[in-house]
Amino acid sequence: MASKDDKPGGFAFTRRDFLKSAGVVSAVTAASAPPEAEAQTAGVNAVGPGEVPVRLTVNGKRVDLMIEPRVTLLDALRMRADMTGNKRVCDRGTCGACTMIVDGRAVYSCSTLAIEVQGKQIRNVDGLATAAGLHPVQQAFCDKDALMCGFCTPGFVMASVALLEKHPSPTPEQIRKGLDGNICRCGTFSRIFEAVSSVKGVTRG
């Protein structure tokens, strides 16, 4: 899984690792093969290439899909479950527009395979607001005009939620570092910073 804070995630074949290692497959197998990959080479637990059943837990609800194993978490939700809130922008784990929270950690869902996050708690922007209203982060973005075209906004919102659940009273430096994995082309950074700084009442996740 493509975690945004680069800590070992304990996950198996990520798309990002694949991109990094394309062309040096043997070296990867020898040096740093995750257990699942080894299992695959041993002919056990292989999936695909056709569609396979995938069960996801998104915003607390079960989502059952038939998808090819190569489908990312982002594309699975956007194209097969009509959850189009999070966006695909760079498609390479750089810009953060696809940021979702998986088991409490912000991940690039464009670089996370759907089959890898079965059994995990997935949260995306589509499920952040409740019947009671906007999440405090969403409200702060609206209040401070921390968005323009809005295409990066779902990713920034989710990254901010993940940051605040980790650091409910973040320092300016923690805000900057926490949001450095997201890019806004309209240039609303100053107001995003203001918005996140103003949020109160997010509890540690």
Binding site: D75, T84, R92, V125, M148, C149, D180, R185, G187
Partner: protein, 760 residues
């Protein structure tokens, strides 16, 4: 469909006429600067009736109104083109040339047609069509497929066999200029413009005490809209509904009609939300949109084509490069007497690279010769203030060097070489005010002598832009329940247009902004102009104002008898309709609207002169820290003073200025379309090696929106992105004591320039 390889007229793109030498200073009485779309001067109409004027006091105009679509955007409910999923929808994929120049010999679709899930294919460049069978840049469209999933469309695209005859390509501008590149473009790889001359250049140099002869340049960058270009097309018989990520729904409608040879009345284009355009989405006949519609027709199913990031970098436009060898002369007292410029730039394959030069500081004696250099890359498109950031960088840097030659303060030097204040050229007074507020008196002379590797510096630059518009139409309806609907065939790029529409109507009716429902982004509404050249606010605000006043007049007619007064004596304010001189004769908005009956009150409006204006002024100051051991530049502070006439929507206008500054910071420090000099391949068509600022790169930004409410509405999207890059470059110069004469200011370039100075 016009062949995209045809050489474009000067200005390029067919959308943004930028002659090589627009004297766009916005000086009193002079022509406004060039604008993409619309221009500043509308049709010759009599000025609007005084009843339509922007008469204070305002209840909504000029206030901080939260973006109406904020909640939809932060929740993900806002549906962009990219988010439109239609029943039975297919995914299209375009096959593009991997070569910068090649003839298409054969295209074999048979394997792709048999691939799983494929429902339609088409050949865009037919090998037999000698007019169209050449690919002129890496990424040029060749063919397309549509399949039931995106993954299958990508698989099928790989099965398309294209046989290319690879042809020599022009890659390097310098080679083309030197006549050392292969002959690719007709009649030549280099198009020499007419030399423009004002005054007596030789006499000007004779008056000069000091002269300068240096070469300056800026690079090519791409728009990097976060939502890539794309469309969803769905046919119902002969009628096409298209969701398109476009800056101009009406131009796109016409583009479909022409590209598909169908009546425009059969086409509906919808753009409810779009993820950034910056000028690249004005193209009415974008190939991917036409391809999408044709695939949908063949497949008898809706088709979505959204470009991937690499396609977006290669094929959807860029900001052309700019370079100039400048010879300039200045008198001992700091008057620039002569500027002789030889300039050039590339807008890609057959596209011009115009920019204003000199920018704003116009000496009495000046000459300019410009060359457009054609290379085998994607064509330029207008990009936020086309030409101005380039002209600004070149001009401001040589002006600073001239100021140093005569040992004058850069602010005073600029003021000396600008005309006095006029409403559309306020630079001298803004420079003085900004200098005071920024702490310019603490600026040290060129070269920070503080010990240690971190050097600080300050810089300043100025800007102008037209920002007028005239293509606005609106329809307003008031219902008996008091709700107001405003329909306007404009579109919101993220600038806040939807909110602005509601503000103008609410201000006229004296009701809360939330009581107005703006309906935009659809060709079923009254046609308005494309959103380019900062023309939207000035184009549609007068139309909405006029329609709203007309609707209010009709409402007054209904209400007056009940109040026993003349309709003309009534005003709308604070949620009430009341007699001007007798507040006791009044009725709440809700009660007033109950007089309307079942049929809503409806009124129309179209743009008229007198409510909007043209040409803005701005100045920006920047402070930087430069680490001379690593070459890393950190911008610490930016101050912007910017006018835009009557500020309609203050919160979103401020956001525009923030955004312009960050865009220009990106241009100065990070962005760069890097081509392999031999193969012509873009080596960074992604977002990890095509660098963009993140949160840690953002300085403290202070914005002063200067009040010019008496001038009416002027757009502000473009102007703030003009001067930041030059101000940053000059702050770097002030910090490190050497001049970097080209952008971007990469660490490597700064270290190299410092090393050259040490050797010298």
């Amino acid at each position: 469909m016009a062949d995209s390889r045809e050489p474009q007229a000067a200005g390029g793109g067919g959308q943004a006429p930028i002659p090589p030498q627009p004297q766009g200073g916005g000086r009193g009485g002079q022509a406004p600067p060039p604008q993409a779309q619309g221009g500043g001067r509308g049709p010759q109409l009599p000025p609007a009736d005084p009843k339509y004027h922007w008469t204070p006091p305002h209840t909504a105009i000029g206030t901080h109104v939260k973006r109406l679509d904020g909640p939809d955007k932060v929740t993900g409910r806002a549906k962009y083109t990219f988010d439109i999923n239609r029943p039975g929808m297919l995914y299209g994929r375009i096959i593009r040339s991997p070569h910068p120049h090649a003839r298409i010999v054969a295209v074999d679709m048979s394997a792709a047609q048999k691939a799983p899930g494929v429902k339609a294919t088409l050949i865009w460049r037919n090998p037999a069509d000698t007019q169209r069978n050449a690919a002129m840049f890496q990424g040029d469209e060749i063919a397309a497929v549509a399949a039931d999933t995106e993954e299958r469309a990508i698989d099928a695209a790989r099965l398309v066999k294209v046989e290319y005859e690879v042809l020599p390509a022009v890659i390097q501008v310098d080679q083309a200029l030197a006549g050392a590149a292969p002959a690719v473009f007709q009649p030549s790889n280099v198009r020499q413009g007419q030399t423009q001359e004002t005054g007596d250049i030789a006499a000007g140099f004779k008056q000069a005490a000091y002269t300068l002869d240096q070469t300056y340049s800026t690079h090519v960058i791409t728009h990097v809209c976060l939502e890539t270009h794309g469309a969803v097309c769905e046919w119902d018989g002969d009628n096409l509904t298209a969701w398109v990520s476009t800056q101009g729904v009406n131009a796109t409608k016409d583009g479909f009609a022409q590209g598909l040879q169908i009546p425009a009345s059969n086409v509906r284009v919808i753009t409810q939300y779009m993820g950034g355009g910056f000028g690249s989405k004005l193209g009415a006949q974008d190939p991917q949109a036409i391809i999408c519609a044709r695939l949908a027709k063949d497949a008898k199913a809706p088709v979505k084509i959204m470009l991937d990031r690499k396609e977006e970098h290669l094929a959807t436009g860029n900001r052309p490069s700019a370079a100039a060898r400048i010879k300039a002369g200045v008198t001992a007292d700091g008057t620039v007497t002569a500027v002789d410029a030889e300039s050039w730039g590339t807008g890609g394959a057959g596209a011009a690279a115009g920019f204003p030069l000199p920018y704003l500081y116009l000496p009495p004696n000046r000459r300019r010769a410009h060359k457009d250099v054609f290379i085998n890359t994607g064509q330029q498109r207008p990009m936020r203030a086309p030409g101005h950031p380039q002209g600004s960088f070149i001009t401001e840097v040589y002006m600073e060097e001239l100021a140093d030659l005569v040992k004058m303060d850069p602010v005073e030097f600029r003021i000396k070489n600008l005309p006095p204040d006029s409403p559309n050229a306020m630079h001298p007074s803004y420079l003085r005010q900004g200098a005071k507020e920024f702490g310019w008196d603490k600026r040290h002379p060129t070269g920070d002598t503080t010990p240690g590797p971190i050097k600080t510096g300050m810089g300043v630059a100025i800007n102008t832009w037209g920002g007028g518009g005239s293509q606005g139409r609106a329809h307003v309806e008031i219902s008996s329940d008091g709700t107001v609907v405003v329909r306007c065939g404009t579109q919101d790029l993220g600038t806040g247009t939807r909110t602005l529409v509601a503000i103008v109507a609410a201000d006229t009716f004296g009701i809360p902004v939330g009581n107005v429902k703006p309906e935009i982004g659809d060709t079923v509404y009254p046609a308005s102009g494309g959103s380019g050249g900062s023309t939207t606010a000035a184009g549609i605000s007068p139309a909405i104002r006029i329609a709203s006043v007309n609707a209010l007049d009709a409402l007054k007619e209904k209400v007056a008898p009940a109040l026993g007064v003349e309709p003309a004596s009534l005003v709308a304010a604070n949620g009430r309709i009341q007699a001007k001189d007798n507040p006791s004769k009044s009725m709440s908005w809700a009660d007033a609207c109950k007089q309307i009956g079942a049929q809503p009150l409806a009124a129309d409006g179209a743009w008229q002169p007198g409510l909007s204006s043209v040409t803005t002024s701005g100045v920006q100051f920047a402070e930087v820290k430069v680490d001379i051991e690593t070459g890393i530049v950190k911008v610490t502070r930016v101050l912007a003073l910017q006018d835009c006439g009557l500020v309609v929507s203050r919160l979103t206008a401020e956001s525009q200025v923030y955004g312009g500054i960050v865009g220009s910071l990106n241009f100065a420090l990070f962005e760069d379309r890097i081509l392999d000099r031999n193969t012509g391949q873009m080596v960074n068509p992604n977002m990890e090696w095509y660098l963009l600022a993140g949160m840690s790169d953002i300085p403290k930004i202070d914005i002063r929106l200067m009040d010019q409410s008496e001038r009416g509405v002027i757009g502000v999207g473009e102007p703030p992105t003009v001067p930041t890059a030059a101000a940053i470059a000059l702050a770097v110069r002030n910090a490190i004591g050497v001049t970097v004469r080209s952008l971007p200011l990469t660490p490597a370039k700064i270290l190299q320039t410092l090393a050259q100075q040490q050797r010298a």
